[in-house]
């Protein structure tokens, strides 16, 4: 029965509305007894009984005999199409998890502090715990999970699934997160680079909607990027495409953890920026400066903080200009923790890009901040998981 079949205000429209109420409660609460359904919807016990009978006949719900406070009761469960999907986001100091139904509609979300960088085995163990715990809370059976996608902040070898050597998780080098998580959960797991997933999410739901060739920059401890060419991810032969943070800008600059000198990362990476904060200045007033203090000081007009962000923006612009000449993107999305600096970072970045990019490549190019914030990679993982054929 579809909406078009019924006249508004008619008996059957009323019944349809009541059916929807019952289904909504079941979707929200999981398994309920008929009495609980009646209380939650405000319908009479008799109508609930009728509606449940109808829904059972159409295969929408199942009912079984049970007892509640010693009385006979009927437990009603919504038949979910198999295909719950789970997204796990491994950030350096946080674990994030989201659960969605087969259409990508969000069911549960949770995040906990965890030292993910310290030990990959433990991080995966804790991620499995978080998955089991959140699924249990949502009354979702682990066996109904069709696909899990893990977001990892480092390059992944596309053939072996191993984490590459240069990432902000040095202890993860050579570790295969998807395989480890799959062994723990017993469900199919895929891993993908966080900047790639964030790029997909921003294109689908965020700041890169309508753009086909997208550079998504993730500015955090390192500088990563997700590259979309004609809407498709560019991964490269070994999965390390988009490591824009290691474009060399200054042959006499600081030595980078990758072993080269003067990489973009040494100008934009958060720890490099914090190391530039002068002692006893605004952001460093109470002990060691952290990113939130640096941002706040810059927004309040602290000259040192502004200078640091503006130089970072210029360096970022120089690096991005190289990639823009190469790929001719129609949108550059700036995401990650540093993106909160907004125009303080973007204005100098755009100026540097104007100096370093071909006029024709700049014509349609827009530089914007991401809309999805710290959840971009998680959403991207969820969307990817929902699209994975079961």
């Amino acid at each position: 029965m579809t909406e078009a079949d019924t006249t508004p205000g008619s008996q059957s429209a009323l019944r349809q509305a009541n059916e929807r109420r019952v289904v909504d409660v079941l979707r929200r609460e999981g398994t309920c007894t008929q009495a609980e359904l009646a209380r939650a919807t405000g319908l009479s016990a008799a109508s609930v009984s009728n509606i449940v009978r109808g829904l059972r006949a159409s295969g929408t719900v199942t009912a079984r005999a049970t007892s509640s406070n010693g009385r006979r009761a009927r437990a009603v469960t919504l038949v979910r199409p198999p295909g719950t999907v789970v997204a796990v986001d491994f950030a350096a100091d946080r674990l994030r998890l989201a659960v969605a139904d087969h259409e990508g509609g969000l069911l549960e979300r949770e995040s906990i502090d965890y030292d993910v960088a310290a030990d990959p085995g433990r991080a995966v163990r804790r991620a499995a715990w978080l998955t089991e715990t959140v699924l249990f809370r949502g009354r979702i059976d682990l066996a109904s999970v069709a696909s899990v996608v893990a977001s990892v902040p480092g390059p992944l070898d596309s053939s072996t699934g191993a984490v590459g050597a240069v990432s902000c998780l040095p202890r993860w080098t050579g570790f295969r997160p998807a395989q480890a998580l799959q062994e723990r959960l017993g469900r199919p797991v895929r891993a993908e680079n966080d900047a790639n997933l964030a790029a997909l999410a921003e294109r689908r739901r965020g700041a890169a909607r309508g753009a086909d060739t997208v550079i998504h920059l993730h500015l955090g401890e390192g500088v990563g990027s997700g590259l979309l060419l004609d809407g498709r991810l560019l991964r490269g032969a070994d999965g390390t495409a988009g490591e824009i943070g290691h474009i060399g800008l200054d042959p006499r600059g600081q030595v980078c953890r990758c072993g080269n000198r003067g990489c973009l990362e040494t100008f934009v990476g958060i720890s490099y920026l914090l190391a530039m904060v002068p002692r006893d200045s605004g952001p460093a007033r109470d002990g060691r400066a952290a990113l939130p203090q640096l941002m706040a000081a810059a927004h309040e007009g602290d000259p040192a903080a502004r200078r640091i962000l503006s130089e970072a923006g210029s360096a970022l612009g120089q690096g991005t200009a190289v990639v823009a000449n190469l790929l001719n993107p129609d949108r550059v999305v700036v995401g990650g923790p540093l993106a909160a600096a907004g125009d303080l970072l973007l204005d100098p970045m755009v100026r540097a890009m104007q100096l370093g990019t071909l006029g024709s490549a700049l014509e349609r190019l827009q530089v914007v901040t991401g809309e999805l914030g710290e959840h971009a990679a998680l959403y991207g993982a969820l969307l990817t998981a929902a699209e994975t054929p079961a």
Partner: protein, 263 residues
């Protein structure tokens, strides 16, 4: 394998006609988390109380500490050996602040008899920092803390006596996801510091997240000892519920061997 810190063998305990524990074995190594699992009434709490010295075990069983036979007949004995127990109710004083709770009954004094608050606060910070616990203010009453933080304070208090074995009774019951995660972090910290941890929990996800081994009790008897890695969730649950060991399963076993019997 090295000698276990604590090893119990053949422990029995009867309350009148009720046999709560029947020849139970349990051992825990340094730096190992052992989950003690079982249904309600399986004897978990009785076993914990025997180890903590709250109940004396019946004669016949032995308790070994570092391989030497010892006698635990009172809570003070257990404490002297280095066994700390954190019960579910935590036994914190809600109206006292964190420092006062940590040092309750064990206060540092200046010579004539005033409290050395500065020294106590310094040691409290040191302790909490060694556990990577982040509590902003140690001078707030415990009543204002979250469930997870209260659990952490109770565990920290137990650690002041420098124990080598810590028993936790349902530390994550009634905690939210983030708070449970904090307590699990702390259990991992205890293991990393080389303590033996006995964890009682009904939550299989929590057990699988931090335990190295699961010892299952059923109706006062040992019902299995499983390494967590390499044991499926179903096997452990089967041991807890006795699904593998009941009249129906036994009869099924007989029938499959005795072939064509009528059901």
């Amino acid at each position: 394998m090295s000698t276990p810190v604590l090893e119990l063998s053949g422990i029995s305990k009867t309350f009148g006609a009720v046999r709560a524990l029947d020849e139970v074995d349990l051992h825990v190594q340094e730096g190992e988390v052992v989950a003690l699992l079982g249904d309600n009434g399986a004897g978990k709490s009785t076993l914990v109380k025997v180890i903590a010295g709250a109940h004396a075990a019946d004669t016949g069983g032995t308790v070994a500490w570092d391989g030497r036979a010892v006698d635990i007949s009172a809570p003070a004995d257990a404490q002297r050996l280095g066994i700390a127990t954190i019960y579910q109710d935590l036994a914190l004083c809600d109206n006292l602040d964190i420092v006062a709770n940590l040092f309750l009954g064990n206060e540092h004094l200046h010579f004539p008899g005033t409290l050395d608050e500065v020294e106590m606060e310094r040691r409290a910070w040191e302790l909490l920092r060694s556990l990577s616990v982040d509590i902003p203010d140690l001078r707030v009453p415990v009543a204002s803390l979250s469930g997870g933080q209260r659990q952490i304070v109770a565990i920290a208090r137990a650690l002041l006596g420098k124990p080598r074995v810590v028993m936790l009774d349902e530390p994550t019951a009634a905690l939210g996801v983030a708070q449970t995660a904090q307590v699990l972090d702390l259990i991992e910290q205890l293991r990393d510091q080389g303590l033996g941890v006995i964890l009682i929990s009904h939550n299989m996800a929590d057990v699988r997240a931090v335990a190295d081994r699961a010892a299952v009790l059923r109706l006062g008897r040992n019902a299995g000892d499983f390494p967590i890695a390499g044991t499926s969730y179903e096997e452990i649950v089967a041991a807890i519920t006795g699904a593998a060991d009941n009249p129906v399963a036994r009869r099924d076993g007989r029938q499959t061997t005795g072939a064509e019997e009528s059901r």
